[in-house]
């Protein structure tokens, strides 16, 4: 069961991408991109006070017949997107929330690392390990 985790900076360039390979790589990346677009839409809607969103978790962004994209935006405008296979119905909302929490916690640790320069690609074994264990959980 394929899955993908993407972490994007406030300027929308990727800080971290991890995908479990799939036969339909293109469709997968397409879902990731459209998910990011939906995240941007939601954020600008919030800015105009059209949507009152106090929560950081954005929920289901973009369901296609094959994949589902979920989003989460921190107060520092860093975006996390998770794409999972639509056939994975066992995954509950609170499980997705807790996975985003883990991502946010690990990202915070990276920010507090004085050797990390904000905006750089994330190269961290701790981060990788956390994402690995998350993807195994999904599958």
């Amino acid at each position: 069961v394929p899955g993908s985790v993407v972490c994007c900076s406030s300027q929308n360039y990727p800080l971290y991408i991890r995908s479990v390979p799939t036969e339909n790589e293109l469709k997968f990346h397409y879902t990731v991109h459209t998910s990011l677009d939906v995240v941007d839409e939601k954020i600008s809607a919030m800015g105009k006070a059209l949507v009152d969103q106090r929560e950081l978790y954005l929920g289901l962004l973009y369901p296609t017949e094959d994949y589902k994209g979920y989003g989460y935006v921190t107060n520092s405008k860093v975006k996390f997107v998770m794409v999972v296979d639509s056939s994975n119905t066992a995954l509950r909302d609170n499980e997705i929330r807790s996975m985003f929490r883990k991502l946010h916690n690990s990202y915070t640790d990276i920010m507090c690392n004085p050797f990390y320069n904000p905006g750089d690609r994330i190269h961290s074994r701790a981060f990788d390990n956390m994402v690995n264990s998350m993807m195994m959980q999904v599958n």
Partner: protein
């Protein structure tokens, strides 16, 4: 020499501020607007770093905020009044960077300056 020192301190404060803000806002709700963010800096942020809140926040509602701390922690050990006033800026540089870094990570570009007229109060 003195200027380079202050700049270096300020930029160190900047990087630390970015990390601190990330950790402090991890579990808070999304900020509504700029004023919301400034209140956060004055209350939660200042309390976590300096164990007290900012005593007074003023704004012209056009982007300028004045934060007043009447008993700034880093200056309390120096004599009260004006005796070592010329040395005060060194102690404020890091904190200015802290605020600038914190705001920057929340999406606000800012210029942060500090002013001391009579220790241990500063703005």
């Amino acid at each position: 020499e003195n200027g380079r020192c202050t700049t270096k301190l300020e930029s160190m404060g900047f990087r630390v501020g970015q990390g601190l803000i990330e950790r402090f806002t991890k579990d808070t709700a999304r900020f509504k607007d700029e004023l919301d963010i400034m209140k956060f800096i004055c209350k939660d942020f200042w309390t976590t770093v300096f164990k007290k809140q900012i005593d007074n926040l003023r704004t012209n509602h056009q982007g300028i905020y004045v934060l007043q701390d009447n008993k700034f922690r880093l200056l309390t050990q120096m004599s009260a009044g004006k005796q070592y006033l010329e040395h005060a800026p060194k102690y404020l540089a890091f904190t200015c960077g802290l605020i600038r870094g914190g705001l920057s990570n929340l999406g606000i570009k800012s210029i942060v300056t500090a002013e001391v007229s009579s220790m241990p109060a500063c703005k």
